[in-house]
């Protein structure tokens, strides 16, 4: 065994030992606990499942959902109604309790998930209120305000699980299964994709990550976990009432998640166990549980925003930062090809209106393979809007965008990024929490569909595949001489080098066309020369480039053709030397007087 392998297995042991010890401690406690203690332990397990689910939407996707308590209640009611009224057993009611909130989440997802920040919180709160009203006013079916009693116990294949140790063990086995699934889904690159989404949705789209799909998957999972937790809660307590769906359930879940840590597996356990046992320990202050929850939530959000688990992990990481070994970069990767003969990019009649302002009034142009098109124009002439429309970051009101024979007009930004148009932004859009290499590896993984929950379940977003994506990412960083920054956090990147990383990120998606929005801004002359050499090199590789720039001394020598925009129209187009003398350009850029002179 080599020393590196030894070190790695030691680290793996180090990462697993706390979990094994915690599991042993739990079993030892349960073996000697009173019936009441076992019941509290089972309820704590229920909360762990609820919080594990909430971590998907609130922690990973970063969306403040206030419907988690309602999903929990729906799961509980489904188990209670089907179990006590229709006599269905656990093996039927448990899956249905997961499916019911999941189906509701799927039904409302399309409109609700489009909403930003507090609108999403408000809409999910409205949803929860409607669910609560339905539960209180459901008459016979839900037992009204009093609720339903006589929820049957858990029966597994004819074995009625007795209350006490066995019952609590079944609950905790389900907890373990939930934790295993969460770890499986989030430990690899898919988990990092959520980190990007949370930090900067624009950066996520730029590397081909679909915000809609990631958020939807997280929302559905959180609803499913909540349903499972609700079903278990109904079995533990034997009764279900509107209390099960009250806002206090939601707030308790939120408090547990924030206190424990919203993105780490350990956080769900720490938060749920701590806040379940806190009121038990403070028995002398009976009835003050929610007051304690409020205080804990406020303290945690102010003092430890990544929760107790996050604070511990941060300390450990600061003590020992493991360097992951990186495979050597492969030889040259194949450069993109496409049908020849036609222009690479054909744009026809592209138009955009913002309210009453026509930002673009129908633009036509083409870009050939290996051609650099410069786009100039005064501020507000529509240059950035043009870039946003072609790359799908803003929906156009008319016109078509055809790349290498494929119509990209109806696609969204992340799809277009994977279909062959990469772009940079005036303010670099790089995910602050990731390293440069991780970010570029994510782009590689998104290109080969090795991201998302299906890929994670199949193990395609970690291990060998991840190492290969990292190796290929390194190759693209090397092309731009940015490999020295591979382990820098994107947030710590020097401004003057950001363009190298941005272009490497674009290349990692193997684009056919590259759009750069004012790449030379803030660079000195030597760096501008470096940038220009790299742009020429990309063109020689057969890529088309669209370069928006104000800096004429930089742009005119590097561009093959220049298009001038003014007030949303292309008013001139031609070779750089002709553009320089074009009266319309001179008049728009230098003022009418200079044009006449």
């Amino acid at each position: 065994m080599t020393s590196a392998a030894l070190a790695q297995s030691w680290r793996r042991l180090g990462a697993r030992a706390p979990w094994a010890l915690a599991a042993l401690a739990l079993i030892a406690y349960a073996a000697s606990a009173s019936p009441y203690g076992l019941r509290v332990l089972a309820l704590a397990g229920v909360q762990v499942v609820l919080v594990l689910g909430y971590q998907f939407i609130f922690g990973h996707a970063g969306a403040l959902s206030l419907a988690q308590g309602a999903f929990f209640g729906i799961g509980a009611y489904v188990t209670a109604i089907l179990g006590s009224r229709y006599g269905l057993g656990f093996l039927a009611t448990f899956p249905l309790s997961i499916l019911a909130p999941l189906a509701l989440a799927a039904a409302v997802a399309a409109p609700v998930l489009r909403l930003a920040s507090h609108y999403f919180a408000l809409a999910t709160l409205g949803l929860a209120q409607v669910a609560l009203l339905a539960a209180v006013n459901g008459g016979e079916l839900t037992g009204g305000a009093l609720g339903l009693t006589g929820v049957p116990g858990i029966v597994l294949f004819g074995w009625a699980v007795p209350r006490g140790f066995a019952f609590t063990a079944v609950v905790w086995l389900i907890v373990a299964a939930g934790a295993w699934l969460s770890l499986r889904l989030m430990r690899g690159l898919t988990g990092r994709a959520y980190t990007v989404l949370r930090g900067d949705p624009l950066a996520a789209a730029a590397i081909g990550l679909s915000e809609q799909r990631l958020r939807l998957a997280a929302f559905l999972l959180s609803a499913g976990y909540a349903g499972a937790a609700g079903a278990l809660d109904a079995h533990v307590l034997g009764v279900v009432s509107s209390e099960t769906m009250a806002f206090s359930v939601m707030v308790a879940c939120l408090a547990m998640t924030v206190v424990g840590g919203s993105t780490r597996l350990a956080g769900a356990f720490i938060g749920a166990l701590l806040l379940t046992y806190l009121p038990e320990w403070l028995r002398s202050l009976e009835g003050y549980a929610l007051l304690a929850y409020g205080a804990a939530l406020l303290l945690a959000i102010v003092l430890a925003p990544s929760g107790i688990a996050g604070a511990i992990a941060g300390t450990v990481a600061a003590l020992a930062r493991p360097e992951r070994p990186i495979l050597p970069a492969p030889a040259e990767l194949a450069q993109p090809q496409g049908p020849s003969g036609l222009p690479l990019l054909v744009v026809r009649g592209l138009a955009k209106r913002f309210g009453g302002i026509e930002a673009l009034k129908g633009i036509d142009f083409t870009i050939d393979r290996g051609e650099i098109l410069g786009v100039i124009g005064p501020n507000g002439s529509g240059k950035t809007t043009l870039a946003n429309l072609v790359s799908g970051f803003v929906q156009s009101d008319g016109g078509t965008v055809i790349l290498a024979g494929h119509n990209l007009t109806p696609l969204g930004a992340s799809e277009i990024a994977r279909a062959g148009i990469g772009r940079s932004f005036q303010q670099p859009a790089l995910p602050p929490e990731l390293s440069v290499l991780e970010m570029a590896a994510l782009a590689r993984a998104s290109l080969s569909n090795d991201l998302g929950f299906r890929a994670a379940l199949a193990g395609r977003d970690r291990g060998d595949r991840r190492e290969r994506h990292e190796a290929e990412a390194m190759h693209f960083l090397r092309i731009l001489d940015a490999d020295a920054y591979a382990h820098y956090p994107c947030s710590a990147l020097p401004y003057r080098s950001a363009w190298r990383v941005e272009i490497a990120r674009i290349l990692a998606l193997e684009p056919k066309l590259v759009i750069l929005d004012e790449p030379a801004a803030g660079l000195n002359e030597a760096e501008q020369g470096e940038l220009a050499r790299n742009l020429r090199r990309l063109a020689r590789l057969g890529l088309g480039l669209l370069v928006i720039e104000h800096n004429m001394p930089f742009l005119l020598p590097v561009a093959d053709r220049v298009m001038m925009l003014d007030e949303g129209r292309a008013i001139a187009s031609g070779k750089p030397e002709d553009i320089r003398r074009n009266p319309a350009v001179v008049s728009a850029y230098l003022g009418r007087r200079a044009g006449l002179a």
Binding site: G62, L64, V108, P111, V112, R114, L115, A116, S117, H118, Y119, A121, L122, A123, L125, G126, L127, Q129, V130, L133, A134, V136, N137, L202, F247, V251, L254, A255, V258, G287, Y288, L290, L291, Y293, G294, A295, L297, L298, I301, V302, P305, T384, A387, N388, F393, F425, Q426, Q427, A429, D517
Partner: protein, 291 residues
């Protein structure tokens, strides 16, 4: 027709009280870009404050109102110090969560201090009523409308005519620019919290006479304030007041015909439909960064 007018008047009085809640909510929203989720619980606290003060000082509601508002303004400063200033440079959702925590503290604090039984504050002027045709106008409802109108106009006057109000507006519009002009931004934000809490307190004192006050009523109130602000245009003060009046009338009318449950369900249903049709809100909030 008389029945309709009667209901419309009752709804107007309810909406006037809601307007104070929504106005406080939107003032904080503009000043901080953050949602103060405890605004509903501050209303509740105002209701209890009025009830508790009445037990100590046998004064009419009108005399208690300034005292309640002053105490609530102090509470607003405390909320800002605990739940806003430490999170000033964090994402707006942190403040949403910290104010949920404040709401939880207020609710359970009230529960322990006053118990779960509903309480009532004294009437503003007295229990009488007057008639306009066949429509009954209780003095309390008239007083709510009058006081709410006075406070809304007072807030407008403060913002439009006074140096302090102009400073608060400047802070809300562009904090950095305001700071560059030498405006004490933190003080202005703290005062905005105080003003918002005072308005919430007034609303609570006015509402709790007719509708009583319970520790958990804040949740429904914050939702209504939120909906009023969405209807009226995110960030618009006038819009929030109009939206709140609309909700009060809507709720009263629907409740009279179909019951309170249906009124609530319809209101939340309407909210979901509004969000569906105008997901960016009525003000087109998602301007996005300059890409």
């Amino acid at each position: 027709m008389t029945a309709f007018l009667q209901l419309a008047f009752n709804g107007l009085a309810l909406g006037a009280a809601y307007a104070l809640v929504a106005l406080g909510f939107v003032l904080v929203l503009n000043a901080t870009s953050a949602v103060n989720f405890a605004q509903g619980d501050l209303v509740m606290a105002g209701g209890y404050g009025a009830a508790a003060l009445a037990a100590l000082l046998p004064l009419p509601g009108l005399a208690l109102l300034p005292l309640v508002m002053a105490a609530m303004a102090a509470l607003g400063l405390a909320v800002a110090a605990l739940a806003y200033f430490p999170l000033m440079r964090r994402p707006a959702s942190s403040v949403f969560i910290s104010t949920i925590a404040v709401g939880l503290l207020l609710q359970n604090g009230a529960l322990h201090l006053f118990g779960p039984e509903p309480r009532a504050a004294p009437a503003v002027l007295g229990g009488g009523q007057m008639h306009l045709g066949h429509v009954v106008l209780p003095y309390q409802s008239l007083a709510i409308v009058a006081i709410a109108a006075a406070l809304v106009l007072g807030q407008r006057w403060l913002f439009a005519r006074t140096q302090l109000g102009r400073r608060m507006r400047a802070t809300a519009q562009d904090r950095e620019m305001a700071a560059a002009l030498g405006i004490p931004v933190r003080t202005m934000i703290a005062l905005t919290f105080a003003l918002a809490a005072a308005l919430a307190g007034a609303s609570g004192a006015l509402l709790s006479n007719q509708f009583f006050v319970t520790p958990t009523e804040g949740g429904a109130l914050i939702l209504k304030a939120y909906i009023a602000v969405v209807i009226g245009g995110w960030g618009s003060l006038e819009g929030a007041v109009l939206g709140a009046l609309l909700i009060g009338v809507f709720e009263t009318l629907v409740a009279a015909w179909f019951g309170y449950t249906a009124a609530g369900a319809l209101l939340y249903g309407a909210l979901l439909i509004i969000l569906l049709a105008r997901p960016q809100g009525f003000y087109g909030e998602a301007a996005g960064r300059r890409a």
